[in-house]
Symmetry: C2
């Protein structure tokens, strides 16, 4: 049997195996309805209560400015300055509420400006990451670790995960079909009771694909 | 025959049809050797001789600072300031040699800072793009058009194009398998006698994929 005939037969058998409902998709793409909204994160800081007070004074509380897509999370009015061995970045937004550990999320380009190593990590995974100095109106804090470039992730509730056939920790891809088309691989699914459907990417990732807050990407599993 | 058995048979037949040399690739990926080096472009300006003289004085010539990947192209010592309706960007590098028309290539994020519309275009295709004001030590030039966000493209010589089975104007994809994996689609092939193999992306695209000058991407056609 020739190679061409084998290919034809293989294609036919593969289509039969998939069944009529899935006969056409070229990849394992979910139905068109399975798209997710994008939330674009700029550089920002999460503070512990102790570091908040060191930077903004004893007894300091964060002042909510606007709500974020994840329930309970907010952008605060407070801003800090980041000082690295090579450079400085001013007016970096603090997000609330306060956390157990201070964490600084910067863009990859920021790490070059600051003069620190870029470490791509999921939020909360800061062991062994670089530090930086934070300066506020009442004082400064020098972190020995805590600066990450955020890894792409997809927030959702457990119910939304079931609806999309996804599980917590799964790695998926997202397809972008706009002016700067492409595919984001390595997107980590984070299903939690406080989650709401939103794919978090940073400003550089958004700009590379021509995306803005609320843009939609197609899920590819 | 069960669906699973059909799938197994289909997979086996497909592998037989492809032959041993191509038994594993999941997509139409070229052999591993078909990778291309990345050249990362920051924001920069190409000037006409008239605009060079308006900004740097009568009779001004560009002073080469270092050669670029494309033969004859160079980064110049000269730098200008971009002034848009919303903001200013200083110290923007001029590239040489001079061109027939002035063209400003910025990052998508820069267009927000400047307050102009982001227009993704190939170099030289500036009709209908926004303008900006350029300021140099000897004067200013206000462009009515000429500001683009550069579209991803792959430079090569006609001989390299033949070697890779590509043709001028073809649109290809590039696969990134590093820390921030993904695929860049819509990469335009630009084969020319003065071309040398190099995939030009901008700083935001590079950072989104964790790429630096000289990183290699796999061609997917």
């Amino acid at each position: 049997m020739s190679g061409e005939a084998l290919r034809d037969l293989a294609g036919l058998l593969a289509a039969l195996a998939r069944g009529p409902a899935q006969a056409s998709p070229p990849t394992a793409t979910l139905p068109p309805a399975a798209s997710v909204p994008v939330g674009v994160s700029g550089r920002h800081v999460h503070l512990s209560q102790a570091d908040l007070e060191a930077l903004f004074g004893p007894g300091a509380r964060l002042t909510p400015l606007r709500e974020l897509s994840q329930p309970g999370q907010f952008a605060a009015e407070e801003r800090v300055t980041l000082v690295g061995p090579k450079g400085v970045i001013q007016h970096v937004r603090v997000l609330g509420p306060v956390r157990a550990r201070t964490q600084v999320e910067v863009l990859r380009g920021d790490t070059y400006r600051l003069g620190i190593k870029p470490c791509v990590r999921l939020s909360g995974h800061i062991d062994g990451t670089p530090g930086v100095t934070l300066v506020g109106p009442a004082g400064a804090v020098t972190l020995t670790e805590g600066v990450i470039v955020a890894a792409r992730h997809l927030h959702l509730s457990p119910e939304e995960a079931v609806g999309l056939g996804l599980r917590d920790g799964q790695v998926v891809s997202l397809l972008c079909e706009g002016e700067r088309p492409g595919r984001l691989d390595g997107v980590v699914v984070r299903a939690s009771g406080r989650g709401a459907l939103d794919c978090h990417i940073d400003t550089e990732e958004a700009n590379a694909f021509g995306l803005v807050n609320g843009s939609r990407l197609r899920l590819v599993v």
